[in-house]
Amino acid sequence: MKWIALIAVTLTGSLLLFGVGDFPEWGDPHSPANQGPKLKSGEQVSKAVSQDFLTETYEVTKVPNVVTAVLADYRGYDTMFETVVVFAAGLAIFAILRVFGDGSDTPPMRAVEDDTFVEGDHSRIIIGTTCKLLIPIIQLFALYVIAHGHYSPGGGFQGGVIMGASFILLAIARDLKSALDWFSEKNFMTLASVGILIYAGLGVLCQFFERNFLDYGALKVFMISSDHPEQMARSYSMLGVEIGVAFTVTAIMFAIYANLSSRGELKEGL
C-alpha cells in the first residue's frame, strides 16, 4: 500500500508542480482569473466574470456583500444543491447508522457511573451554568449572522452551523436526551425538508411570474412601497433563501451529531 501511495503522490505532485511553473504570481490583480484572460501580445480575450460581480452587484441587487449576492442569486442554483448535499448527508447518516428499537441486539454502551447530573458534581455545575448562560447568546448570535449576511460576512450556512453548534453544546454539556427534548428527531428531519422547500419554493414562485427559476426579480410585485422594487425583491429573496439554508444546516448538523455520538440509537451520547 505504501508503494502505491508513494507512486501516486509522486506522480500527482510532479504533475501539479509542473503546472505551477506557468501560474500568474500569487496576488497578481491582473491575472486571468481576476481581470480576464489575455494573450501574450496583451490583447484581452474576454472579461472575467468577477469584475462584473464586483462592479454591478450593488447596482443590480442592493446587497453590499458580493459573496452573498453571488452565492444566493447569480449562482443560487449551486447553493440550492449545496443545501441538498447537506440534506442528503443527514439522510445518509440516518439511513446508515440509525438503529430502531431497544437496541438489545447491539452491544451495550460503556458503563458510565457519573453520567447523570449529581448534586455536588462541581464539574457539571460549572459547565452546565456556563452553557445555560451561553446557549441563548449563541443562538441569538446565529440569528444575527443569518440576518446580517447582506452587510457583513455571514449568511445561512454560517448561521446554521452556529445554531447547530449551540444544540450540540447543549447535548455535550447536559446530555443528548435533554437536547433531543428540545429538538426531537421528527422536528429536525421536518425542519431540514422545510429548508429546502423554502429555497426551491422561492425559485418556483418566480416561475409563476413567467420568469426563469430563481429569478428573484419576478417577485417585485410584492415590493409595493419601494423605490427600487426589483432590486429590493432580490435582496429580500436572498434573505429568504438564506433562512431556508439555515434551517436545513441547523437541523442536519445536529442530526449528524446526535446519530454519531449515540451510534444511531439516540439514547445517550458523548
Binding site: D22, A33, L39, S46, V49, Y77, F81
Partner: protein, 529 residues
C-alpha cells in the same frame, strides 16, 4: 411553460424528495406514488425538451434569468449581463437521449423496488426513497448542466446519496466497500474540482461554452499553456476514478456487488455511464476536438492502449468470478474500457465517439437488464453464484428470457443494441487506425460468449429438478394477496412488479437496436456539427 421544461426535469424529483421527507415518515404508503409522479413528470419534461431539441437545435436555459447579452435592471439604469454570469443548463441531442435513458431507468428501478424496500427495512423506507430521488436529481442535473462547477456540486449530490444507498443495507464487506468508495469518490471529485480550478485560473470563467471560447481564441494560444494541460489531466483522472477506468477500478466490484439489489440496479447502469458522458462532454464542449486530437496526438494513443488493457482485464477478471453480480461488475469495467477507448479513438469522422455515446445508452439498458435479473435471482431463488442458476430456465422462464436478451446484447448479437454499438466502435477503430482496440473488442466479445453461454448451459441443462409452472403471470397476481404462500412461491417466477421493468428493458434494448441509425444520426448532430 414549454421553455421551463429543462429546469422541470431537475425540480420534479427534488420536490418529490422534499415531500417524502416531510410526510413520508408519517405514512409510508405515500412514498411510492410520489416517486412515480415525480419521475413521470421528469420523463414528460425530458420528452418535451427532446422534441424541442430535435426541432430547433440545442435548448439553453439560464437559471435566475442571467442570460448573457440581456439587460438587467440596475439602480442607475440597465446593466448588461456578461457571459458566465449565472448558471446555464443546456440540452442537445447528446445529453437529451441520456436524460431520457436516466428517466426510464429510474422509473423501472423504482417499480422494481416496490416490494423489496418495504420488506427489508420498513422503518427506513421514506429515507430510502428520498435518497433515491435525490440520486435522480443528481444524475439529471449532472447531465443537463452547462457549468463546470455546478457539475461538481451535482457530482457530490450523487456521490453522497450513492454512498448511503450502498452502505445502508449491506453488511461487512459491503460496508468496507462503501468506505473505500467514499475515499475514492472524494479523491476523484477533488481532482475534478482542482482541474476546474486550473481552468478558472487561466480563463476566468466557469461556463463550459465560455471556457471553450477562451481556450480556442487566437489559435489556442491560451489553450496551449501548461496549467490547461494539467487541468485536462486532472479532470480526466478525476472522472476516470469516478467511472472505474482501468487502473482505478478497485472500488467498483465490491461496492456494487455487496449492496442491496435495488441500489445496484440504479447505480450500476447509471453512475459509470454518466461519468463517461461527462468525459465526452468535457472533451467536446470544454477542450474541443482540435485541442485533444490535433494538439496532443500522443495522448489519445496512450488512452486507447489503457482502454484496451481495461477491456482485456475486465473480461479476464469477469471470467474468473463465480459470483453473478461480481462478474457483471467486472463486465462493467470492460464496458467502461469500450466507451473510453471509443471516445478517444480520434478518427476524423468521429465514428468512435458517436459509437461511445450510443454505447452509453445501450450499455445503460443492458446493464440494467442483467442487474434486474441478478436481483430477481438473488431474491427469488437465493441464487447469487453461477452454480445456483442450474435449472433456472425451467424455474423462471420469463426472467431467464430477459436475461438471455441482456446477455445477447452484451455479447453483441443483432438485432440488439449491443451489436450496433460495437459496430460503430469497430468502424471508428478501423478508421482511426487503432487495430489493437478492434482486436480487444472482438476478444472481449468472445469472452462474453464464453461467459454467458456457460451460464446458459448451467441454467438450461442444470441438474436441479424443475418445480415451477409456466403460468407465471397467473400466479403472480395471486402473489400480491396471499402472503401465506410465500414459501411455496419461492420456487416460482418473479412477481409482476419485477417483470414489468425487465421486459420494458428488453423491449428498449431491441428498439434501440432497430432504430440505431436514426438515433446515431441525431447524436452525431452534436458530436460532429
Amino acid at each position: 411553460m414549454s421553455d421551463q421544461f429543462p429546469i422541470l426535469i431537475v425540480l420534479a424529483p427534488l420536490f418529490g424528495a422534499v415531500i417524502i421527507g416531510l410526510v413520508g415518515s408519517r405514512d409510508h404508503r405515500v412514498c411510492m406514488p410520489v416517486v412515480l409522479v415525480a419521475l413521470f413528470t421528469s420523463l414528460s419534461a425530458v420528452i418535451g425538451t427532446l422534441t424541442q431539441v430535435l426541432e430547433t437545435g440545442p435548448v439553453d436555459y439560464f437559471v435566475g434569468g442571467w442570460e448573457p447579452g440581456k439587460m438587467a435592471p440596475g439602480i442607475h439604469g440597465p446593466v448588461e449581463i456578461a457571459k458566465g454570469f449565472g448558471i446555464q443548463l443546456r440540452v442537445d441531442t447528446l445529453n437529451g437521449f441520456l436524460l431520457l435513458a436516466i428517466a426510464i431507468v429510474s422509473i423501472f428501478v423504482s417499480i422494481f423496488s416496490i416490494r423489496r424496500v418495504n420488506q427489508k427495512a420498513a422503518s427506513k423506507t421514506p429515507q430510502f426513497y428520498t435518497l433515491y430521488l435525490l440520486l435522480c436529481v443528481g444524475l439529471f442535473g449532472m447531465t443537463i448542466t452547462g457549468d463546470a462547477f455546478n457539475l461538481f456540486v451535482l457530482v457530490e449530490v450523487t456521490s453522497l446519496t450513492s454512498y448511503a444507498l450502498i452502505a445502508m443495507g449491506s453488511k461487512r464487506r459491503g460496508t468496507m466497500a462503501a468506505f473505500n468508495y467514499i475515499l475514492m469518490g472524494t479523491v476523484g471529485a477533488s481532482f475534478y474540482l482542482l482541474g476546474v480550478g486550473y481552468l478558472y485560473l487561466q480563463t476566468g470563467s466557469l461556463n463550459m461554452a465560455h471556457i471553450q471560447e477562451v481556450l480556442a481564441a487566437n489559435d489556442f494560444e491560451i489553450g496551449r499553456s501548461k496549467p490547461v494541460m494539467v487541468a485536462f489531466i486532472l479532470i480526466m483522472v478525476g472522472i476516470w476514478i469516478k467511472m472505474a477506468f482501468f487502473p482505478l477500478y478497485g472500488w467498483l466490484p465490491n461496492a456494487y456487488s455487496y449492496c442491496p439489489s435495488t441500489s445496484s440496479c440504479i447505480l450500476a447502469p447509471l453512475m459509470t455511464k454518466i461519468s463517461v458522458y461527462i468525459m465526452i462532454r468535457v472533451m467536446l464542449s470544454v477542450f474541443g476536438w482540435e485541442w485533444i486530437f490535433v494538439d496532443h496526438v500522443g495522448w489519445s494513443d496512450a488512452v486507447v492502449i489503457l482502454a484496451v488493457i481495461a477491456i482485456l482485464a475486465g473480461s479476464t477478471l469477469a471470467l474468473a468470478q463465480r459470483e453473478l453480480k461480481k462478474m457483471l461488475c467486472y463486465l462493467i469495467v470492460a464496458e467502461v474500457g469500450y466507451m473510453v477507448g471509443g471516445a478517444w479513438l480520434g478518427d476524423p469522422e468521429r465514428w468512435g465517439m458517436s459509437g461511445a455515446a450510443y454505447h452509453i445508452l445501450a450499455d445503460a439498458f443492458m446493464t440494467l437488464c442483467l442487474f434486474l435479473c441478478a436481483g430477481i435471482f438473488a431474491k427469488k431463488a437465493n441464487a447469487t453464484r453461477i452454480e445456483h442458476l442450474s435449472g433456472m430456465f425451467k424455474k423462471m422462464p420469463l426472467t431467464m428470457t430477459g436475461f438471455v436478451v441482456g446477455a445477447l446484447a452484451m455479447i453483441g448479437i443483432p438485432p440488439t443494441c449491443g451489436f450496433f454499438s460495437k459496430f460503430y466502435l469497430i468502424r471508428g477503430g478501423i478508421e482511426g487506425g487503432h487495430w489493437e482496440f478492434v482486436i480487444a473488442l472482438i476478444i472481449s466479445s468472445l469472452v462474453n460468449v464464453v461467459l454467458f453461454f456457460r451460464i446458459f448451459e448451467i441454467a438450461f441443462f442444470g441438474a436441479k429438478p424443475a418445480e415451477g409452472h409456466d403460468h407465471a403471470h397467473h400466479d403472480d397476481e395471486k402473489d400480491d394477496h396471499s402472503t401465506n404462500d410465500e414459501l411455496t412461491l419461492l420456487e416460482r417466477e418473479a412477481p409482476l412488479r419485477s417483470l414489468i421493468p425487465l421486459f420494458g428493458t428488453t423491449a428498449i434494448i431491441i428498439l434501440l437496436g432497430v432504430y440505431n441509425g436514426q438515433i446515431v444520426e441525431w447524436i452525431r448532430l452534436t458530436i460532429k456539427p
